[in-house]
Symmetry: C2
């Protein structure tokens, strides 16, 4: 992408409304724009990151055997009356009347709808286990939305729903998502620690939050510091291996870890003092096993191998992509801007033409841009007529992992400078070497 033809509205000033660093940087880098209180547009740079986050989430959901669907945003109130949640869910639920005066709502979550889909089609235990997920907008009318897309009213959620014949099978489904989440967050460049959690309005009796440690986190968390170095399940993880997944779950829940809500001072005190980690955290995922809480009132049953009808056991598994983007920034930035993990960076590299209009600089930059683009690298070419200082500041702000800097002096020698955004390390090399390094 040529910056001269792109839409990346950088803000020079720090926006006053931003209370946390990710919100400030997302606004400054032109990633998002608030449209109404707690409702955001994703501008091109933000959309690119969001897409990369979603792609990783999808790959890991699919790997764990979940199947993608797309449920609508608007739901009929009737479904929620069946489960009994229509009255329970307070003012956070956005209630709507359509032109025929039928009560509708903007889905804050989809347990009811997916249970309705399930009961309409699935009649036999032979079709289980089943895990259906979608990545769809949700709306929760929070009284105080804040921190940009970290806590917005309209937000994107990946929500998966598992259906099993028995509790034992449901635990395996839970463990699949547990392992998938560990892999997902790891690929997003995050160290997420699963912590026993309160189940809130989703309900159920077995639940974990995945918390990333970040100085600017919204809540206090307490855990054993060994979690920081635990192994992540590999790409070759066999999701059908019941024992293997249980072992992963057991290992990752073997040490103390709790949010302030669930914190047990006495249990934490039992952790050797040098091993205790008390930090700030951000919730980036939440998984629940809730048995027959929805399947029972909604009549989601299948015929078992015994010929009898069984109410299915369910779980639900949420990740918020529109919250993950700022969470990644909270975990990875410095004074000059964002530092994207390579897996979600909006571009793999930015080529900075220090003197646009100079024939040699233009030719070198165009050649590098073409070579990288042809090799399938996502590359941004800063071909604007801004001052070099402005270009450097922009490149640091938007956090692309590698900067390729081409100025008249280096170009005259057939060279460019490569700067690693994270370490700040700079290296001068020939144009060819730079291309090989970035394409390799």
């Amino acid at each position: 992408m040529r910056l001269s033809r792109y839409f990346m509205p950088i803000l020079k000033e720090n926006p006053k409304e931003a209370e946390i660093v990710s919100h400030r940087l997302m606004l400054r880098a032109g990633m998002i724009r608030q449209q109404s209180q707690g409702i955001y547009s994703w501008l091109p740079l933000g959309k690119r990151v969001l897409d990369k986050v979603n792609k990783i989430i999808r790959e890991e959901q699919n790997r764990a055997g979940a199947i993608e669907i797309l449920m609508p945003t608007l739901q009929s109130a009737e479904l929620w009356q069946e489960s009994g949640r229509y009255d329970d869910y307070g003012k956070e639920m956005l209630r709507i009347k359509d032109r025929q005066d039928r009560p509708m709502l903007y889905g804050p979550t989809n347990e009811e709808m997916v249970t309705d889909i399930f009961r309409s089609y699935v009649k036999s235990y032979k079709d289980l286990p089943l895990n259906l997920y979608h990545i769809q907008l949700k709306f929760r009318d929070e009284i105080r939305p804040r921190f940009g897309t970290m806590r917005s009213r309209e937000f994107m959620m990946k929500d998966a729903y598992s259906f099993d014949l028995t509790m034992e099978a449901a635990v395996h489904s839970y463990n699949k998502m547990f392992a998938a989440y560990l892999r997902t967050f790891d690929r997003l460049g995050l160290r997420a620690i699963p912590m026993r959690a309160d189940t809130g309005p989703i309900g159920g009796n077995h639940s974990h939050e995945f918390i990333i440690l970040a100085e600017t986190g919204e809540s206090e968390v307490f855990c054993h510091k060994d979690f920081v170095n635990f192994d992540i399940p590999g790409v070759d993880t066999d999701f059908d291996d019941v024992r293997g997944l249980q072992a992963i779950f057991d290992k990752w829940t073997s040490l103390y870890a709790a949010t302030s809500e669930m914190h047990d001072e006495a249990a934490f005190a039992a952790v050797p003092e040098g091993e205790r980690l008390s930090a700030r955290g951000i919730e980036v995922g939440h998984i629940f096993y809730f048995g027959t809480k929805y399947s029972e009132p909604m009549g989601a049953k299948v015929q078992g191998p015994d010929g009898k009808e069984h109410t299915v056991h369910m779980g639900s598994y949420g990740i918020g992509p529109t919250r993950l983007v700022p969470a990644i920034i909270e975990a990875s930035h410095d004074d000059t801007g964002i530092i994207w993990p390579a897996s979600v960076a909006p571009f793999d590299a930015v080529v900075i033409n220090m003197k646009a209009g100079d024939t040699a600089c233009d030719a070198t930059c165009d050649a590098i841009y073409a070579a990288l683009s042809n090799a399938g690298t996502d590359v941004l070419l800063d071909d604007t007529d801004d001052r070099a200082g402005t270009k450097f500041a922009t490149a640091d702000l938007i956090g692309v992992p590698v900067q390729v800097i081409a100025g008249p002096r280096s170009v005259a020698n057939g060279e460019v400078e490569l700067k690693d955004r994270k370490t700040g390390a700079r290296e001068t090399m020939t144009v060819e070497a730079a291309i090989n390094k970035l394409v390799g």
Copy 2:
């Protein structure tokens, strides 16, 4: 994907509520499910097709220089009061009050919001031309939603919005989208004919609908039959070539073509009788140039090269992916089911194991499945214990382009049968030859 682990709820009976063939086939193939009147879930098979349609739309929008963003579904009423459309737009607009009693709405289209984004950031003619698009859900509370996702209330739309300094530049932006649409529909396996259109509630003075010919189309259309063989702009089309794009536009609008709304009997009579085509059509895209209709009341201005402020000229360009899926089916099906164009088929091939549980059949099917999957082919393996006849019927119904049929007799010879879904042609060949043919 192994069918035994997939979720593809085939209906044996023709659903009564379906009035048109695409709606019937989408329900029967388990692609969609109605959740409320005019509101649908996309089940796994449908979601796959929808994704492929969106991918093609995106590629062609990007090729033409449009830049992807993502605006939210809910909008504040204030924006629409600014443009004057809040009161004009009738009951089709879903009006909502949030918990603070602020008037909101579920966006039926995004001219106001994108103009607001534009005016917030863009101040100079140097940043033009600009074309921003998104693929996002819309809601139009139609009094009589019908035909499945062909005319639903919650639907997906790709809507692009162009901004230019002058009318001449805006015409070029219009022509870019005109050519991009021709390419998009062609890649979707459709022959779409641009027809002069009424501008409706979007407004403006220059507009074309893209209509595909289908016997079951909702409206009557009249055109010169030469359109059916016109050349589509190539992959090497230069979207910066003002004259080249104007020539494409001129050619594609040189002959008579009109929907019944805009039909001119006298003009049509002037077309030589043997060249007249009178047929049924389905609208699959709609593009508008509307000048300063929104930029004027909303104050979207830039500084021109003359140092003065100029109100920008705008256009908008819509395609409905959730409508395109049934439109493709209307244009391509037979008595036994859907016939997908390869570009949007949910799977490239289906491997039919005629005798699941038979060691030789299982081994052969698994080998083919593995080879095709590893080569990046989207393949469905029917490994269920259904009868062979049921499997054949399912494969025909879901319309995957190639069927690989493996029965005990052929497998004993090291062979399988390949069936072309469209022509019905069958060919027996070795397993290796089948794999090479499908991977090649």
